[in-house]
Symmetry: C2
């Protein structure tokens, strides 16, 4: 039986999604819970992809195989009773044996949040990027449009990216909104390179501050050089919001 799970996690106290020796990871905690359910037997999980240390998820997805015959509701309950309080299964479902959480992902949505205030808010330090400089939302919205469509994202991904092959990706939506002192960025695409969301948002901040013009974005794409783009904004503002599959 193949089971698909949709999970939320507060990334603050995780060294990211992917398992690592001697580090607290999301995958590590799920493996522990599954091993308990399977009486000591290890069960490997396959996620839609990695998230970095400090990055949050509202809709990360993984699958695993089990010969235990539990209903989706029972899987959800069993896992949640064993998982730590910063990691929660929102949904469990039986899926076809050919389903793969990574390879079948059709679209991913990330969101990034900025608090644009002079005073620091101690309660949001791990959940939003506190950026005190004035931002021109109109210019940022104009610049966001330049990222939509199919492009080679070499300029806007980490030079340390392990991606082999093409760095061409298609973004269906890159938008930003202001609600009071809160900025929301929504990015949807067929795939994202390492640090791609955080570098795009960092570049949009440069536009918002007037360091860069919206119309410069095209030239930056053509440089194929990470150094020409904006800073990588910090992980705590980033949320893996949703992973969409063909069956959905």
């Amino acid at each position: 039986m193949r089971i698909k799970c949709v999970i939320s996690y507060d990334g603050t106290n995780f060294s990211g999604m992917q398992i690592q020796p001697r580090a607290r990871t999301v995958e590590g905690e799920i493996n522990k819970a599954l091993r308990k359910i399977h009486k000591g037997e290890s069960v490997r999980i396959f996620s839609s992809g990695r998230t970095d240390a400090g990055v949050h998820a509202k809709g990360q997805t993984f699958h695993f195989d089990s010969n235990y015959h539990l209903t989706p509701a029972e899987w959800k309950r069993a896992l949640n009773s064993l998982l730590p309080t910063d990691l929660h299964v929102n949904e469990a479902a039986h899926v076809h044996d050919s389903f793969h959480a990574r390879f079948d992902a059709k679209e991913k949505e990330y969101r990034y949040y900025i608090l644009n205030e002079r005073e620091r808010d101690v309660f949001q330090q791990n959940y939003i990027y506190q950026y005190p400089y004035e931002l021109d939302i109109k210019k940022m919205q104009q610049a966001a449009g330049y990222f939509e469509g199919t492009h080679d994202f070499t300029t806007f991904s980490s030079a340390k990216s392990e991606t082999v092959g093409s760095k061409v990706r298609t973004l269906y939506e890159v938008s930003c909104f202001r609600k009071g002192s809160r900025f929301e960025f929504i990015l949807r695409g067929d795939g994202f390179l390492y640090n791609m969301v955080r570098i795009i948002v960092g570049t949009l901040l440069d536009v918002g501050r007037g360091k860069l013009a919206a119309s410069d974005i095209g030239k930056l794409f053509n440089k194929h050089d990470r150094q020409s783009a904006g800073d990588t904004v910090p992980p705590q503002g980033l949320y893996l919001w949703k992973v969409t599959y063909n069956e959905d």
Copy 2:
């Protein structure tokens, strides 16, 4: 020069307000920052009172003396540049030499937050008490009224309380509100005994679940016995909201 500061802190990673050896405390962090400003000289601070591990503050207050002549804005800036990100000075002010943050406090306000949902929200685990059982807000509001006024709060404070002398306190307001799945409790009074807010809220939850009638509260006061009251609700839902002084 006597300086009064109003601070916010995220209590999650503090072992409370009061300094303790080998523990990260709010007072300890402020002492470190003041020692740096005073070139290695220790400066003692006096707060309005303790808060427990995990308890938050939006308006904790302390004072200290210094022979450094900084303006209030300079004190605020100097401290905030040295304090960790989960502790923030909202306001600094010069006060009269006779001002005392603890003894001159006229009124304290605490707030307590409950998330009344079946599903756990991983992002709020340290900031709200997630309580999944159905609650009758009308009955809780009725019961809250019984706590207002002047009473001996022995039943509604920790038996471990170090308070010597009278356990009589006056509460000016005990109220609760529901906003969607969020419950807010507001308690204002001339002083609070150890765990008093958390035991009153725990008792109100018993009323909300029907374990106790609003009209039983009077009898509980008369018992002078901690065992007759409800559980002490967890610290993460509690905020020291405001301390009011005569001068304010």
